[in-house]
């Protein structure tokens, strides 16, 4: 919930994050004070009156955010604010919709005038200059027109459920929907609050609509300096200062793994003055963290922990928003990520580009490794008769080398593996075992008898109930023993593929 409230406002996000993490009341915000905030408390009456009600209704950990919200709008949106502040608490951390600026578009003029005065004192870290307000308005523009687009890709777990109609009603249009946005914005703002990652998505959705965004922000000065939770958003906004940078928008995948990092980034990016530098750094961090994302695309940030269990993908600008194409893109990105990982594994493939050539290299490498195993096994077969005593020595030597305790290792290592192997293997092995039927029991008994004869090893007790361990013994006995007469008929049943065994 705290997250929700914090993410409510794009600019607020960072402060909200700070609030979340430095929940020390209203005074916490003053820690981030910027020199320009001196003008903020000039007219706190409005904001305070509204904000206080908001704060009291919402969770105490986000006083600043609530302050900002109702104060910013200075509208009879208080009931709505209260409503969605409650909704925030209800929705929890489910909203995956990025939050744009909660500032409604319609009353842009009014807001812009009211904003300097309504900035609550606890948001001292936000400079109460017109640039800030304009940015806020810009974000609201971003947010207002594309709620439907924003919310559609997300599943029912989204926190939009409290206001599905409101969000659906908002189509991606410009200021003439401002009235609608006015009412929509507060609700929609609440939705993305708990999702740090979503912070950038409304912005991006705006981008997706392209012209919509441009028109909506026509009278908002584009300043690159703004503190946005979503680093990508800030970066893109900076790019969009020329009103044309939205092309960088990429599909966003919200991943909880990135949230902490982005959280840090958000906190660092609170300072407006350092925005530009931060944007670059944060973008880099985003790109680094999001290994699964294409480097060229802005990764989805998740300032707050988005608690979804699945990855949300946003349609990129200029691309089809069909669910099939989105899924296809996700699949392609997964494959490319795995190919990159394989590129690191296979030696000499750093310069190779393209899936086909890479696959060829991988195939060659796997074949060469398998041939090497075969060759080495032949070599071991030749030298083995001479070194039956040496094997045990080797075993203890290796174990010493690795662990420093051979005898303890011998008995220990199989046991170590068992706990983790046992649960998952049980279901699988039992069908395999049942396929073999009763002979396996006899084999196991014979195997256990033989195992006890083996010298130099502290074998696990034969009655180990672990199924995986039984399989291990089975493998040992059945595979390594060549005494029974070969039955060529059975060997013909071997699979006819490239598998070496």
């Amino acid at each position: 919930m705290e997250m929700n409230a914090n993410d409510k406002f794009g600019m607020e996000k960072r402060s909200g994050v700070h609030l979340n993490h430095h929940i020390s009341g209203v005074s916490a915000d003053c820690q981030f004070g910027t020199p320009s905030m001196g003008a903020v408390p000039a007219n706190p009456a409005i904001a305070m009156s509204q904000g206080v009600s908001m704060i009291s209704s919402s969770s105490p950990s986000v006083p600043g955010v609530d302050f900002f919200g109702p104060g910013l709008w200075s509208h009879p949106a208080n009931p709505q604010n209260l409503g969605f502040s409650n909704a925030q608490t209800n929705t929890g951390a489910s909203s995956s919709i990025p939050i744009g600026k909660p500032v409604a578009v319609s009353s842009r003029g009014m807001f812009l005038q009211a904003i300097p005065g309504v900035l609550p004192p606890n948001l001292s870290h936000f400079p109460a200059d017109s640039a800030f307000i304009e940015r806020a308005a810009r974000f609201s523009c971003f947010n207002g027109g594309n709620f439907s687009g924003m919310m559609n890709p997300f599943g029912p777990s989204e926190s939009l459920t409290p206001h599905p109609t409101a969000s659906r009603g908002v189509t991606g249009t410009q200021g003439h929907k401002s009235e609608l946005n006015m009412t929509e914005v507060p609700r929609d703002i609440t939705v993305p609050i708990d999702h740090g990652s979503s912070s950038g998505s409304p912005l991006k959705n705006q981008r997706d609509k392209g012209s919509y965004l441009v028109g909506g922000l026509s009278n908002v000065s584009r300043e690159a300096n703004f503190t946005e939770v979503d680093q990508e958003k800030s970066t893109e906004l900076a790019n969009a200062a020329g009103n044309s940078s939205s092309s960088d928008l990429g599909s966003k995948k919200r991943k909880r793994s990135n949230q902490d990092m982005e959280l840090d980034q958000v906190q660092r990016g609170t300072q407006l003055s350092m925005e530009n530098t931060k944007d670059n750094a944060e973008t880099e961090q985003n790109l680094e963290q999001n290994s699964s994302r294409p480097n060229g695309k802005q990764a989805k940030d998740s300032t707050e922990g988005s608690k979804e269990d699945y990855i949300h993908v946003r349609a990129r600008r200029g691309q089809a928003t069909n669910s099939h194409s989105l899924a296809e893109r996700v699949r392609r990105e997964k494959i490319s990520e795995r190919m990159k990982y394989l590129q690191d594994l296979v030696p000499g493939c750093s310069k190779v580009t393209g899936k086909a050539v890479m696959l060829d290299e991988i195939i060659n490498y796997v074949q060469s490794l398998q041939r090497q195993v075969e060759f080495l096994s032949m070599k071991l077969a030749t030298v083995n008769p001479r070194v039956d005593c040496n094997i045990e020595g080797l075993l203890s030597k290796d174990l010493f080398q690795f662990r420093g305790g051979s005898s303890s290792m011998i008995g220990f290592s199989p046991n170590m593996i068992h706990p983790q192997l046992h649960p998952s293997q049980q279901g699988l092995v039992q069908p395999g075992i049942s396929g073999m039927g009763s002979p396996s029991d006899a084999v196991r008994r014979a195997m256990n008898a033989q195992l006890t004869v083996m010298s130099g090893f502290k074998e696990p007790t034969p009655q180990i109930p672990n199924v995986w361990d039984d399989e291990l013994h089975n493998v040992m006995q059945l595979s390594y023993s060549t005494n029974p007469p070969l039955n060529t008929k059975e060997l013909n049943g071997k699979p006819r593929d490239g598998f070496p065994i």
Binding site: K255, R256, S257, S291, R331, I335, E337, M339, V346, A356, L359, I363, V366, Q367, L369, V373, E374, L376, S377, M378, L380, V383, N384, P385, R386, V387, D388, N390, I391, L394, D398, F402, M409, I410, S413, M416, S424, P431, G432, G435, M436, M454, G456, F457, N474, V475, M476, L478, S479, Y480, T482, N483, P484, L486, E490, L491, P495, G498, F499, I501
Partner: protein, 153 residues
């Protein structure tokens, strides 16, 4: 989501690998000293794969397939077990594309044949299994090279 893909830290556990393999070698030495050279080499090869699969654990499809195959081979040899039900059938989801034998085998198909247990996988899963398999193959090769080197000294 718990995406382990982004955190691919599945380095092979070398001591475990060494343990299994050396134990198998000792076992083979004791039992098959009279067997022919080819048999021994084949057995050692199977031992290598089995130890690799055992060290990898049951979480990977290829390790399960390898063990399954080794077990099936061993059991069939020991008991004259008919091959009416290949163990692979237990573990394979028969998810086939249309006429896999008719169309030209693509590179992914070749890879599927190479990597055990990866016959019915989509490309992303196949690549993941291949990466894991390569890691363990490399560890196994290094281990065997070490063994050969120390044995021949």
């Amino acid at each position: 989501m718990n995406r382990k893909n982004s955190n691919k830290s599945r380095n092979p556990n070398k001591p475990t690998l060494a343990f299994y393999f050396l134990r198998a070698l000792a076992c083979i030495n004791k039992k098959t000293s009279m067997a022919s050279y080819n048999q021994r080499s084949g057995t050692i090869k199977r031992a290598a794969y089995a130890s690799m699969a055992l060290a990898a654990g049951p979480k990977r499809a290829w390790s399960r397939a390898v063990l399954c195959r080794v077990l099936w081979w061993g059991s069939s040899r020991l008991h004259g077990f008919p091959t009416r039900r290949r163990p692979r059938a237990f573990f394979h989801r028969r998810v086939r594309v249309a006429d896999p034998k008719l169309r030209e085998p693509s590179k992914a198909d070749v890879l599927r044949r190479l990597v055990p247990g990866a016959k019915a996988m989509d490309l992303s899963r196949l690549l993941e299994e291949t990466a894991h398999y390569i890691q363990y193959l490399r560890a196994q090769v290094l281990l065997m090279q070490n063994v050969v080197g120390s044995v021949s000294d």
